[in-house]
């Protein structure tokens, strides 16, 4: 196990280096001038020239790459022309909101997706299965940003059940930051009203974001359950008189969960990508909104910062899933 973790960590570092090379290529090698990109759209030629010298952009590419990597190691992700803050500080401000949104969204997808998958596998080709199939086929095809707008239109504006956007209403003050996650912080401090408000604001964006993940979790879980239910050990368990619920949940689901788990890691990363769309619909103050606002203002450094942060989070999520996989399924462990 230790050797496996070690190997995975080495691999992670290599991938990280690759990712940095990729972002370097996008910012320094792509046609277009990195100095004027960094300076922003309103910069005068003198300012661009100054930045070029300051960042060493007049030097040969390998030297630039070295400086770029050194800078990133020291936490220098550049400056945002729009907010006039260091990108790293901005990311630290905005990331908790995104993390909270994505976590709640993946929880909804898992908590809905697994029972739906199990139930459709049990009633294969019945009406419930057909319904679940409609959900899972549509989930992938619906444009997430459009679904968000439609949810706003129906649930927030027409019915008035949930707030339109933002992270908290005007009447609530954010809880004292402990984890920077509003749900958790308000809960820790017993502020029930703030908790309710934060949850209400979170629900619609989390729903809009979870649909593609929900779709694929239903699909994979259903397929795996059908396979597991056909196995000999299920027949044996039934023959021994074990109840339906126990057989299904304890034996079949346990084995069907592994591929679903792998799916969840992948979906977590795609959800981080989806925040770019959903956050701008719901005015959710996370890194996705930060990226789109920067993109519109042609503020380049923050976008590279968000790309790196999302890439790193995705890699970590996959690492965790891999570790959980090995921990849960002894067969994947390599012989010592």
């Amino acid at each position: 196990m230790a050797r496996f973790v070690g190997r995975r960590l080495v691999f992670l570092v290599a991938m990280l280096l690759g990712l940095l090379l990729l972002t370097f290529a996008i910012s320094h090698v792509a046609p277009g001038d990195p100095a004027s990109l960094a300076a922003g759209p309103d910069a005068t030629p003198e300012m661009v020239e100054q930045i070029r010298q300051e960042y060493g952009l007049d030097r040969p590419l390998p030297v630039q790459l070295g400086r770029y990597l050194l800078g990133i190691l020291q936490g220098d992700l550049g400056r945002s022309v729009r907010t006039n803050h260091d990108v790293l500080a901005d990311l630290a401000d905005f990331f908790p909101a995104t993390f909270e949104l994505v976590t709640v969204s993946i929880l909804i997808a898992v908590l809905l997706g697994i029972p739906l998958g199990v139930l459709s596998a049990l009633g294969r080709n019945g009406w419930f299965d057909q319904l679940a199939r409609v959900v899972s086929v549509s989930g992938v095809a619906i444009p997430m940003f459009w679904l968000g707008l439609m949810l706003q239109l129906l649930v927030a504006l027409d019915l008035g059940w949930l707030p339109l956007g933002g992270r908290l209403g005007l009447m609530s003050t954010p809880p004292e930051p402990i984890t920077h996650l509003y749900l958790l912080d308000s809960l820790l401090q017993g502020q029930w009203q703030v908790f309710g408000d934060a949850a209400a604001h979170l629900l619609l964006p989390a729903l809009a974001l979870c649909f593609p993940a929900l779709a694929s979790i239903i699909r994979v879980n259903r397929a795996e359950m059908i396979e597991a239910l056909g196995q000999d050990y299920i027949v044996t368990a039934r023959a021994h008189g074990l109840g339906g619920f126990r057989t299904v949940c304890l034996y079949a689901l346990k084995n069907a969960m592994l591929p679903t788990l792998a799916m969840i890691g992948l979906r977590f990363g795609w959800m981080l990508g989806g925040t770019v769309l959903v956050e701008s619909v719901f005015d959710w103050p996370g890194i996705g909104l930060y990226a789109t606002q920067s993109a519109i203002a042609q503020d380049f450094q923050p976008i590279m910062g968000v790309t790196l942060l999302i890439g790193i989070s995705f890699m970590l999520a996959n690492l965790l899933v891999d570790l959980a996989y090995v921990w849960l399924d002894p067969r994947t462990r390599e012989p010592a």
Partner: protein, 304 residues
């Protein structure tokens, strides 16, 4: 039917020469047709292809596609004259949605084509060659796949500047790694097959093995993935349009239309609603066709 007389007809007709292939295709069609969802997908895809081909000739107000201005008709609700209503400069939304089909399908076709054109050869090369070449190709692929495609595309468009052409370039650049993964594993499996071994022993050159033995056997997974990717590329291009990095108004692009239309919610709800439905139904169509094709080519996946 009488048995064909080989002496009387030394050259068999096209039908006879290709009989096995025709039989295979008919079997495929027979399997495909049995799935209601696959047929629904096919109907949707064919309908949107027809709209893309004939759309500009069919629409009621062709001049609105390029952004004519009729301020007197602005923001009209859906009616007999304007089925989907009108937008803020009085353009017929039905016209713009229908004309936008061509743009969306063309963009998706380019992205999928370029991605497969880069990814398939690299995948075959990686799977067949092994060694350092495989390592290099696969690690580069891993790096690209370590960032969600949409985020990477946003970064590239940000570097190149917004616009539909740059959006296509960016999406094509982030789309190929999926094909490398798919084809590499398929090639790896095919490499050990007896008939490939036999071809090699018979002295076939490597390009010949790749082109006439490995590539044809990769076609069905490529076709399934390409069909799914047509839908996903439409979605991605519309997403970039929605953020403001893709097609720029007044181009009739669905994502860009929703992006403007959202400012007119909730009173003028039709503006953002109908382009979204168009995206949903095209993507749904391509996904269902992809699903149907997978069931046809890979019977084990059926019913999953």
């Amino acid at each position: 039917m009488a048995a064909p007389d080989m002496t009387a007809a030394p050259r068999a007709g096209w039908r006879e020469r290709h009989a096995p292939r025709i039989r295979q295709l008919r079997l495929y069609w027979h399997t495909y047709r049995r799935s209601a969802s696959a047929m629904l997908g096919l109907v949707l895809v064919v309908a949107f292809l027809l709209l893309a081909a004939l759309g500009p000739a069919l629409v009621p107000y062709p001049e609105d596609a390029a952004g004519a201005v009729h301020l007197a008709d602005k923001l009209q609700p859906p009616s007999a004259a304007h089925w989907f209503g009108t937008d803020e400069v009085g353009n017929d939304i039905l016209t713009r949605v229908v004309v936008g089909t061509r743009l969306s399908l063309a963009v998706a076709l380019i992205i999928t084509g370029v991605a497969a054109g880069i990814g398939v050869p690299l995948g075959i090369l990686a799977g067949y060659s092994g060694g350092w070449l495989r390592e290099t190709i696969m690690r580069v692929t891993d790096v690209f796949l370590s960032v969600p495609a949409l985020v990477l595309a946003v970064a590239i468009v940000a570097a190149l500047g917004p616009g539909i052409v740059n959006a296509i370039v960016a999406l094509s650049l982030v789309w190929w790694p999926g094909y490398v993964r798919l084809i590499e594993s398929k090639t790896l499996a095919l490499k050990g097959e007896t008939y490939v071994e036999a071809a090699r022993l018979a002295g076939a050159t490597t390009p010949r093995i790749l082109f006439s033995h490995i590539l044809p056997n990769c076609l069905s997974p490529i076709l399934v993935k390409a069909s799914m990717d047509m839908g996903m590329a439409i979605l991605a291009a519309a997403s970039l349009g929605f953020i403001g990095l893709g097609a720029q108004p007044p181009a009739p692009e669905w994502g860009a239309m929703i992006s403007i239309g959202r400012n007119y919610l909730p009173t003028w709800w039709w503006y953002a609603t109908f382009p979204g439905l168009a995206i949903y139904f095209t993507v749904l169509g391509f996904n269902l066709v992809g699903d149907g094709l997978r069931d046809v080519f890979d019977p084990r996946s059926r019913g999953r």
